[in-house]
């Protein structure tokens, strides 16, 4: 243990604790900017400088470990003057068009400016001296270098959390910038559109590409029938942008708010998550049968989930040789989109060309996914617009809806029913758990042997999780699986996905089925979720997801009445010809740079 003095108060901390964390223990806040709980220490913005007695220079509190006998002062004249200078320097290279900026009032630089640099600024505007580029090439996000303050959070995110490094630091001195391979547009590099950088950018340099106006236009158009689907993870995070603490479930209020916004039908991606389980579970069982019983060498195992479009693009870029291992199932968003303009249109007797299909996602990669050329199996663009959780919050504010005080409401029918299994898709391990709840029951006729259906080994925040389930007492049709041990693995965050892929490549992955989500924590930690997102917040959202599951009457996908109905009325059976036409897809190999 280490004893030190901060602002003349004694504090004892563990070895390795930073001065910043030690100060926090004393309820002393030191402003930061480049620091982020999810990322390694950078110590480059210098906003968190403090004075250490006897030191020649000020020290960066985020990057300096507490040492025995240290005497720190966080608010001396020297510190204050330097900090004001630093914030003003940052502002001088930042295009401060705050009132037009999407991040207005949710910008860490802006709040530092409020606290430390109000009034006249000393320094000259440097923005005009640089040729800045605004990269709008990605359908998911916009990169505006004129707002970049070089904190490198995005760079660290892309390399440490996602193992991609689509963006990196280029050049030096005044020309230093965050750039891509050969300065190519973001749409032409290895970027997965996961939006984790967007979620961590403290300014408006990286923001999602918004489609709010297009969605309003559709809503106002009397000729259009606008359907909206909401992803599982949105309901446990939306509240954060509307005045709630993290971890609050706001499902009913969200549904009511969407109705008030003017959507013609408020439906649930959870429905198509349940549908995904039917399709993907069946696909897995068929693959297992072909591989284990028929000895078909062409069957690729392990099978990887395909719900996460960031993960899909990752494997397309980095491990294209394993594309046959991906489930051919579309993601729940795209299954929903394909059915909205076919099944739903038919049931409601609406011309599909008049349907505008909107989805609310915790994700920026979903914007890219909806734009993929494969995603037009209804004969139209299956999902027209994808909004992030944050964009929905903006719309709710724009519409003047008093979110805290509105009543709760229920989803509309036809593709609005869901089970707890669909809900937990939003957290890492959720797809696996939902799949096991159904597949185990199909094979054995009994529920999974876990208390209250909670398959705890696949839950939690460990980067890579593994579980083995022994299959016993099979029903006749699945007797060939008797005594088999189903080995599964779950990874979230692409750095962890890469670990699994490395093992797979080396032939050391003993799994049959692997769930991979691009974002840390799964969709609850998605790039489109409220900012900030960090471990503590992800854990609260995760808790909320499982609580949503516990509160559901139905908790197994195959019991979803809307799912049962759609197979009966429209799709026939899982993996049917029609299913393949509408609910399955294929993948493309992409360059690895």
């Amino acid at each position: 243990m280490i004893n030190l003095l901060i602002n003349d108060q004694k504090v004892t901390v563990q070895d390795g604790t930073t001065v910043l964390a030690a100060a926090k223990k004393l309820k002393i806040n030191i402003p930061t900017l480049c620091n982020h709980d999810d990322l390694c220490v950078a110590g480059n913005c210098r906003v968190c400088i403090v004075e250490q007695k006897g030191a020649r220079t000020l020290i960066a509190s985020c990057a300096t470990p507490a040492a025995e006998g240290m005497e720190i002062h966080t608010n001396t004249l020297k510190v204050r003057n330097a900090r004001k200078h630093i914030v003003e320097l940052l502002l001088s290279e930042h295009r401060s068009d705050c009132t037009k900026c999407y991040k207005n009032q949710n910008c860490e630089l802006q709040s530092l400016a409020n606290d430390f640099a109000f009034g006249d600024h000393v320094f000259l505007d440097l923005v005009e001296d640089h040729k800045y580029n605004i990269d709008r090439s990605s359908p998911s996000f916009v990169k505006d270098d004129s707002k970049c303050i070089r904190c490198q959070r995005c760079v660290r995110t892309c390399s440490e959390l996602q193992y991609i490094s689509a963006i990196a630091v280029a050049n030096k001195g005044a020309h230093q910038k965050i750039s891509s391979f050969h300065d190519r547009p973001m749409s032409q590099v290895v970027c997965t559109n996961c939006g984790q950088c967007v979620n961590r950018c403290p300014t408006g340099a990286l923001v999602e590409k918004t489609y709010i106006d297009q969605v309003w236009d559709a809503i106002y158009d009397p000729d259009k029938h606008v359907v909206v689907q909401t992803a599982p993870a949105v309901r446990v995070a939306l509240g954060e942008d509307l005045g709630y603490d993290p971890g609050e479930r706001v499902t009913g209020k969200m549904v009511n708010a969407l109705r008030q916004l003017g959507f013609n039908s408020v439906l649930d991606t959870d429905f198509s998550a349940d549908l995904t389980i039917m399709e993907e579970g069946t696909e897995l069982l068929v693959r297992l049968k072909k591989a284990l019983v028929d000895g078909d060498k062409s069957i690729s195992l392990p099978m990887f989930t395909s719900c996460s479009p960031g993960w899909i693009k990752f494997i397309e870029h980095k491990y294209p040789e394993f594309l046959p291992n991906l489930s051919t199932c579309k993601s729940p968003q795209q299954m929903f989109g394909a059915l909205a303009k076919t099944y739903y249109a038919k049931k409601r007797n609406i011309d599909p060309s008049k349907i505008v299909s909107v989805s609310i996602m915790p994700c920026t990669a979903k914007k890219f996914e909806a734009d993929r050329p494969e995603m037009r199996s209804s004969g139209f663009k299956d999902v027209d617009f994808v909004l992030t959780t944050r964009e929905l919050a903006v719309m709710i504010k724009q519409a003047g809806i008093d979110f805290r005080n509105i009543e709760e409401a229920n989803y509309d029918s036809i593709m609005g029913d869901s089970t707890g299994a669909g809900v937990i898709f939003g957290a890492t391990g959720g797809v696996m758990e939902a799949a096991l709840r159904t597949a185990y029951e199909i094979v054995t006729g009994r529920e999974v042997p876990f208390g209250n259906l909670n398959i705890t080994p696949v839950r939690g925040m460990d980067g890579v999780k593994e579980a083995t389930i022994k299959i016993e007492g099979c029903v006749d049709a699945w007797k060939f699986l008797e005594g088999a041990e189903l080995k599964v693995a779950i990874a979230h965050g692409l750095v962890n996905a890469n670990k699994i892929m490395k093992m797979t490549k080396e032939g050391k992955a003993p799994y049959h089925f692997v769930e991979i989500m691009a974002c840390p924590g799964g969709c609850i930690g998605g790039g489109g979720q409220p900012i900030p997102t960090n471990m503590a917040i992800r854990q609260k959202r995760m808790k909320a997801i499982y609580s949503e599951d516990e509160h559901k009457e139905l908790r197994k996908s195959h019991l979803n009445p809307d799912v049962i109905a759609i197979y009966k009325e429209f799709l026939d059976q899982p993996n049917s010809h029609k299913s393949h036409d509408l609910l399955h897809t294929h993948y493309v190999e992409r360059d690895n740079y």
């Binding site: 630093i86 070089r150 030096k172 001195g173």
Partner: protein
């Protein structure tokens, strides 16, 4: 203040029997070597002047099966070209100094990080290195040296940025602590020393600390190689005993019209004529890694300052705010003042900014930009404004 006057000496480039000196060094225990260097009062010759004996002592104290001795030959300070000469003429002493240092700290491996622009020296250095390795083997000592090339970035002369560069990463300074003695190149305890420091250490082993401290002053022991350039009839490399005043220096090397001397390069200090007599060249006055640039009255100190700021604006790694943006502000600020687009009092704001950079920048580069800025603006304000 001790004043030794201007004395030319010839120790660094003196031809020695390398084999003999090394054999002597290897017979000493590591504590004996470190004590000898401590007794000599040797301070780093790269410019920062950290006591070499302390650096070796700290590194020696670290428990690690793998340690490194790194020779910083990324001589990039504007106006410094003495390491080039040393490597060209007495690289055997550099290699020998590394082996001695290796013995002291317990390192079996040495890396020379050679400035990109000095690549042309490499063929000759490789031949020298081969015979060095052969000689080491003959003595029966296990020590290996390899060369790594820089690529022209000034910042890679900063020790931790240099390590990053060796490791194949972008050359950006690291947060300190941990210091290199604890975690240096490849995360191993590392002593990183300037080319000349290693040669001087070799010399101390040869002659003994007792003889070494006959040269120089209490704060600046020994002699030093100076790179002399600018308005001088005799530019070049000169080895001088430490402890002379700038006036004595100018009397020897000036052209009779010297108005200022930039001591220590772009990151050093500008000494104006009125302070020549009172300023000692050394750690008690103005320290230098060797760069001495003389300016006569035909030179505009605005141009001199502009040149330095332009250099720093380009050569900052760009990582930390005070350096990346501060350099641009200083440069743009003096341009505005010169053009009359900003009031002359704006220089006071820039002086304050230079102070902030000195205490808030992440590494030595950003921290020392203020040296040149403050000493030039402080002493030649009228030349900046008018």
């Amino acid at each position: 203040m001790e004043n030794k006057g201007l004395n030319k000496v010839d120790l660094i480039f003196e031809k020695i029997n390398n084999h003999e000196v090394l054999a002597k060094g290897f017979k000493m225990s590591k504590d004996e070597i470190i004590q000898e260097i401590l007794d000599s009062g040797l301070k780093g010759r790269g410019g920062a002047g950290f006591p070499t004996g302390m650096k070796w002592k700290f590194t020696a104290a670290e428990k690690s099966p793998e340690k490194y001795i790194v020779c910083n030959a990324d001589e990039g300070e504007p106006g410094t070209f003495k390491d080039r000469e040393i490597l060209d003429r007495v690289s055997n002493k550099v290699h020998g100094g590394m082996a001695i240092a290796g013995k002291a700290i317990g390192a079996k491996k040495g890396i020379v990080y050679l400035r990109g622009e000095y690549r042309y020296l490499l063929p000759k250095l490789m031949i020298e290195l081969e015979s060095f390795h052969k000689m080491i083997k003959e003595i029966g000592y296990d020590f290996d040296i390899e060369y790594r090339m820089g690529s022209g970035a000034y910042i890679c002369g900063e020790e931790s940025a240099l390590f990053e560069s060796i490791e194949g990463n972008r050359g950006e300074p690291r947060n300190k602590p941990p210091y290199p003695t604890v975690s240096g190149v490849f995360g191993k305890p590392t002593s990183i020393n300037n080319v000349e420091t290693l040669v001087t250490a070799m010399m101390i082993i040869q002659h003994g600390a007792k003889n070494f401290i006959q040269y120089g002053t209490k704060d600046s022991r020994g002699s030093k190689v100076f790179s002399i350039s600018g308005d001088t009839p005799t530019p070049g490399i000169f080895e001088l005993e430490l402890g002379m005043t700038v006036l004595q220096f100018v009397n020897e090397f000036g052209d009779g019209d010297t108005k200022a001397v930039q001591v220590g390069g772009a990151s050093g200090f500008c000494v104006p004529r009125k302070k020549f007599a009172e300023t000692i060249i050394g750690f008690e006055g103005v320290p230098t890694g060797g760069s001495m640039k003389l300016f006569n009255s035909s030179r505009s100190m605005y141009n001199v300052l502009h040149n330095y700021l332009d250099f720093f604006t380009e050569e900052s790694c760009g990582q930390c705010t005070p350096c990346r943006v501060g350099c641009q502000q200083l440069l743009k600020g003096v341009e505005k003042v010169k053009k009359g687009e900003a009031k002359s009092t704006y220089l006071n704001e820039l002086m304050k900014l230079a102070d902030t950079m000195k205490i808030a920048a992440k590494c030595g580069l950003g921290q020392s930009v203020g040296n040149a800025f403050k000493s030039i603006v402080g002493n030649f304000k009228e030349e900046i404004i008018y």
